[in-house]
Amino acid sequence: MKALLKQREFWLLAVIVAAMWLVSLRSPGFIQPASLANILNDTSILIMLALGQMVVILTRSIDLSMAANLALSGMVVALLNIAFPGLPIPVLVLTAAVFGTLLGAFNGLLVWKLNIPPIVVTLGTLTIYRGMIFVIAGGSWVNAHQMTDAFKALPRGSFGGISLLSWFAILVVGLFYLLMTRTPLGRSFYATGINPTAATYVGIDVGRTRFIAFCVSGMVSGVAGYLWIARYAVAYVDVAGGFELTIIAACVIGGISIAGGIGSVAGAVLGAIFLGVVNNALPVVNISPFWQMAISGLAILLAVIFNARTERKRGRIILKQAEHAA
């Protein structure tokens, strides 16, 4: 029990439950099963993206291009769907994944081989990827009536009371849990972030690990791109504009240290769900739009302050004797 109370994931879960209870006082329908399934559905894409971002942040990097990657991959599959309406959906999902991975690999290569800081690389590719959407689509929208019904149907399907989109997210969470806790690669993400020098000494190629992290976040962005476009049935240049910051906010709230090395799958998932609950609650409780932004910002700030407090480790004095001797 004591160990549980020490875990920030537990506290975050408690805050989420408390927030939902508070909202339900004002709007009882908010905690109905249908409404909860709806929130999970709405948060699914953010959960996947937060997990992808988590892997990158763990290696002391950051990927600002995820939302742009999502929008570009989504536009590519939407255009493919128009050009070849007969292409089966699994092929399109695979295409989105491969395309997203390539975009992520481009980030990763620049970080690995040219040693450019990740924030600079991804800030650049963010703009490039957004620009490319404009180029390939000629600036116009891809609208619902141009997409095939099968294309739009996948995230809407439902199984066991929740949407296929939610199942997709649950599957991705499971895969990430296995990756992070049961594979050497997962451990090397942590090692790279905690202490790159030590990681190198134990035989982990830090640059290569970061490269793989960017490929992972790229792949997630690509798949999320298809899901986003199919869910909202529209693709245009500004799709998910500014969403990169929401993804990072979810990670930060979930206790993933921006300095790298600290964070868990559960944390990222709960961080995303927290934002999902806040985003879905605000329209229901009828708060002024000006306050909505302030409230979201406050939640992020509080999470960061909380993180900073828990992460501050007590310094260990070594060679105390020697110090006295001197």
Partner: protein, 333 residues
């Protein structure tokens, strides 16, 4: 090839060469059309209208440009670049009515004609403002569209707008308020803001659906908002119960008109708007008209406008699109 034919061909070549030198010697008019952001279908259509006007005027080229994000800062950069290129006129839809004034005044000092359209610039920053329609008429339209399809003209409606600070949406909503009296059976239960972000608009629409179970219509005076609301209504299985309407482009709403999520919506014709604004700019450049209160300016095939005290004028009424004409227009814009 016979000698005669060769000669004929040669003459034709020489003539065309001469013609082209003549055209080049007449200074070509260059009119820049600056969009809020270049990825926006509305402005792409306005650009098409401007091209049409240029063709009609002759010896005129259109520079269609704008920032990639809808910000005033981006537009200021674009304006400065256009001043450096010494264009003859800037036709602009502003992301901020005041922030662009200094840059546009600089342009005016260098003899560049400035016409704002759609989202206006403060009077000191431009020669003429062309509103697509009057604020009052649009305000009335967005509530009338919702009222039109209510059973017995009675029911609850909600507005889903863009950002809470958007100049035009707020003006339209304020104008709509003055017409509440014309529709006594209509009860406006909420006004929410989707910030012109698709996911946020979608969530706000879901919020409206869950908090007002007997909602009969959502009216969204923004293209992102109306499409998001229509999608949310479709996904919630409320087609037939909640009618989504507002302002949108026909191509974006085609699927939702067909599914019945939206019975009708309105928009002025952006092609006409780009065309008319370009015509005004051309008339001012050529000295056919002066930008002063009371001046009458011809806008070609669309008709003519009369400037008011703020040197602004309205082009025409918004046009209603429904199942009967959606196919015809969705292929255009």
């Amino acid at each position: 090839m016979t000698p005669i034919k060769t000669l004929g061909l040669g003459t034709a070549l020489v003539t065309s060469l001469m013609l082209s030198t003549v055209t080049a010697s007449v200074a070509e008019t260059r009119i820049a059309v600056v969009a809020k952001d270049i990825g926006n279908g509305f402005f792409v259509a306005a650009g098409k209208g401007a091209e049409e006007a240029a063709k009609e005027i002759g010896d005129t080229s259109i520079i269609f440009t704008g920032p990639t994000e809808p910000t005033a800062e981006g537009q200021i950069e674009v304006i400065n670049a256009l001043i450096a290129q010494k264009v003859d006129a800037i036709v602009i839809s502003a992301n901020d009515p005041d922030a662009l004034v200094p840059a546009l005044q600089k342009a005016k000092q260098r003899g560049i004609v400035v016409v704002s359209f759609d989202s206006g610039v403060a009077p000191e920053g431009r020669d003429v403002q062309l509103d697509p329609s009057s604020v009052d008429l649009i305000g009335k339209t967005i509530i009338k569209l919702a009222a039109d399809h209510l059973p017995d003209g009675k029911g609850k409606i909600a507005f889903l707008s863009g950002t809470a600070t958007a100049t035009n949406q707020n003006a339209w909503l304020a104008a709509a308020k003055t017409h509440y009296g014309d529709f006594p059976g209509v009860e406006v239960v909420a006004t929410v803001y989707g910030d012109d972000l698709f996911d946020k608009s979608y969530r706000e629409a879901q919020g409206l659906i869950s908090t007002h179970p007997d909602l009969a219509a959502i009216s969204a005076p923004t293209t992102v908002g109306i499409v998001a609301a229509a999608q949310a209504v479709t996904d919630a299985g409320k087609i037939g119960k909640i009618n989504v309407t507002g302002l949108a482009l026909p191509s974006e709403m085609a699927a939702h008109i067909k599914s019945g999520a939206s019975k009708s919506f309105a928009i002025w014709n952006p092609i006409d708007l780009g065309y008319s604004a370009t015509m005004i700019a051309n008339n001012l450049i050529k000295g056919n008209a002066k930008a002063e209160p009371g001046a009458e300016i011809s806008i070609g095939r669309v008709g003519k406008i009369t400037l008011d005290d703020n040197r602004s004028a309205a082009m025409s009424d918004p046009f209603t699109y429904d199942a009967s004409n959606i196919d015809q227009f969705s292929s255009i814009f």
